[in-house]
Subunit: 457 residues, 2 copies
């Protein structure tokens, strides 16, 4: 252990390869099913949505995948990101535990999302793609992809969940500053959007609807537009592992190794990015680190959902994958952690939870904000509500250590800052936020819409 | 020259002392005058506003002043900050120049302001102060001091310029999150505020008015409250030099030395913090770096103001210092660089400009935002409108290099990010921003309110 409190790797130590957990999965892979036939898809089918270099990454079994130099060149603008020891938070908690956090807030758009946005923009550029479509909730993903497309000269259409489009204008302006075209979803630009608007002209939108719109635009573009997704899929998980790979080196600088590794999980990319390199050590080197995925009690995919095949989007036009899901028709309550409101979870993360390699827990909104405020008052940084779920879990682990006297080493990922979520903090301070626990019967109801899966899948 | 693009000092290389330019000033110091008598003040007078340890720093002549360990401990949470080479910006400009920028956006509140906020909170705590008062315009200073007071357990009252209080709620929420009490100024909490409201109940406020209110509260508190200022004074300039001292080391890492050093100047603290260590090299080691202070054309203190004694605040209750000033009754137009709208300028910066050691230039609002957008599209980071003035000047220097073929090394300070200024960007993109050049006759008019100064000062 060192007496330093911030561990900064030199640019020269930026990882040269991503970690691909496909190579180490303790369970066999599950297929991706065609949304119409529910039969395993061919690469050609995925090739309508994604360029072939990304499709190949999706099925790649190599443990290490080289990070292309143009991607590393852009990573180096802010990576390696710092890792901090939260000594002031430890002191406030009176815990003997050591708490570390990886600080992804220092990226230009303030979150971990550019790690895959830059890679996807690069691979699309390489494949000759001229234009991308995507969706975004609160805007973290949209602003990251907008920056990346701007760097590589790609055109970008973003379907932004309508309620966020109007309530969170700042991130929309960032996307537009990077020349992206941003539309409040549901729109009248797609058949599915029109259908939603016919049923409910006042629809506030949802991530599932926005995905359906973005997918539809790509699929019906006659090959001129590709689609980009900011979470869930294997290549996205892999691109994010640069976070955890750096963190491994930084823990070594600190002279410690984590007993507990924590990250919040919405679609799974932030969790995978930080935790998979530690899972790798568990799986291949006999390490016994407890790996924790934290989700909101109001969108309890891992803790109350079902592990089965489901569609990635509301319109049931995106491929179906085996994952923990609340049902693709699930509309989450309007909590402030916009990035954690997806009905499903990355198949890789889901499989590891199901197999017992990863522990899932949920946190309620109020206790999450309580943790966020304590963190900001001790460490200065105002966290994104998403990241605050990981802080809550880290604090709970540290409190347990205080009670048991154990000197555990706890590491979590601070996936983003809360600069664009300040109104949520104001609501919290004024007692206007509520806890919303998703009731069991509602989970049951949502899951009646799950697709029928052929035997043997 | 190295092929690296980001220069990151290890925590262990955080400067151990601030640089005090008093020791090297090429001209004799000018006195601080009592606002009533216009005679030089005694330390006791300043002692009403500031604790004696800060008053002593104000008159200190030591070249190097040790940074107390509790201050360094907090600095280390984000310092040393990175220095970047803006290779993508250079490429976009087609310039042979090398452009470097120091990145103060990575502090928890996103600007350079905590460098002095933490120091001032520490010295006040040491001196037994329980409560501080201050003012803030757009909120960069207020949020920095709120964080610092929260760290040291001091109570804080902030008078926030009313128009910003209502238009920029996010920074107010940050201050409140750190337990500061924030009031829209002019308020009815002070005699001066009441007087302003009687004359104009709809007054949008100004920094000068807010300073008067914060000073009044401290002066009339019977010694229970001290006042804290985020710019202009000598101790503030000195605390900020940690920026330039790090930058000197980072330029050495890069294997280059700047031909041109640029920073924006409002009250002068950001400029002094970055530039004074380079001025020191010019004054004592025969370096010939061109040192440039950039201000808005709409608040042309250095380029159109008068070098004379003037009050620091609108009510003429704060001490009077010799500086470039537009007159303490000056109300600047509502440009978006809120941090650059002060009527005066730090005496030290003013003296160096007057003596020819620092070059002053102004930039208009539209060309400043044009530079900000180009910077964000190439380097990813969305700059604060204040910092964009430095970017404008750096780009202009780089364009000159393109035309002359000179390979100059240009370094500027990116003092803050623009996350809380996104509506200004939207206005710019929609063609709603205007240039506002302060007309000469209006400058003349404002300066008819300058105080009478005794002969010999």
């Amino acid at each position: 252990m060192s007496d330093r409190t911030r561990f900064q790797l030199d640019q020269s130590r930026l990882p040269k390869a991503w970690y691909n957990i496909n190579a180490d999965m303790p369970v066999p892979p599950t297929p991706v099913l065609h949304p119409g036939t529910m039969q395993p898809v061919t690469p050609d089918f995925l090739g309508v949505l994604f360029p072939m270099n990304i499709v190949m990454q999706e099925v790649c079994q190599d443990r290490w995948v080289e990070i292309p130099e143009p991607v590393r060149e852009i990573y180096r603008m802010w990576r390696p990101t710092p890792m901090h020891r939260a000594v002031r938070l430890e002191k406030a908690l009176g815990t003997p535990a050591h708490i570390y956090y990886k600080n992804e807030t220092v990226s230009p758009v303030g979150s971990h999302k550019p790690n895959t946005a830059v890679a996807q923009a690069f691979y699309n550029k390489e494949a000759g793609t001229k234009a991308l479509t995507t969706e975004t909730g609160a805007g973290q993903w949209g602003s990251a992809l907008a920056m990346a497309c701007n760097f590589f000269g790609l055109s970008l259409e973003i379907f932004m969940v309508k309620i966020s489009y109007h309530q969170k204008p700042y991130r929309r302006i960032i996307m537009e500053n990077f020349d992206a075209h941003v539309f409040p979803s549901p729109t009248d630009r797609t058949h599915f959007g029109k259908r939603v608007l016919e049923e409910d002209p006042e629809s506030p939108g949802s991530l599932g609807i926005a995905i359906s719109e973005a997918v539809e635009v790509a699929v019906t573009s006659g090959g001129t537009k590709k689609y980009s997704l900011g979470s869930v899929l294997g290549h996205v998980m892999m691109h994010q592992t640069v976070i955890g790979l750096e963190a491994l080196e930084q823990m070594e600088m600190a002279g410690e190794y984590p007993d507990v590794v924590i990250a919040c999980a919405g679609g799974g990319s932030n969790f995978a990015g930080f935790a998979f390199p530690f899972v790798h050590k568990n799986l291949t080197e006999g390490k016994k680190t407890k790996i924790v995925a934290v989700e909101p009690a109001s969108c309890p995919t891992l803790t109350k959902g079902k592990y089965t095949f489901d569609f990635g989007d509301t319109a049931a036009t995106a491929p179906s994958v085996k994952m923990y899901t609340l049902g693709h028709t699930f509309i989450p309550p309007g909590i402030h952690a916009g990035g954690l409101r997806y009905h499903g979870m990355a198949p890789s993360v889901s499989a590891l939870v199901n197999h017992g390699d990863v522990v899932a827990r949920s946190a309620r909104q109020l206790e999450t904000f309580e943790a966020a405020v304590l963190f900001s008052k001790t460490e200065g940084i105002i966290p994104a509500p998403e990241s605050a779920h990981a802080i809550r879990a880290a604090i709970d682990e540290a409190i347990q250590c205080r009670e048991s006297g154990q000197k555990k080493v706890i590491a979590f990922n601070l996936s983003g800052h809360g600069h664009f979520d300040m109104t949520a903090y104001e609501s919290y301070h004024h007692g206007l936020l509520e806890d919303y626990e998703y009731p069991d019967h509602a989970v049951e109801e949502a899951m009646t819409h799950l697709p029928k899966v052929p035997a043997g899948s």
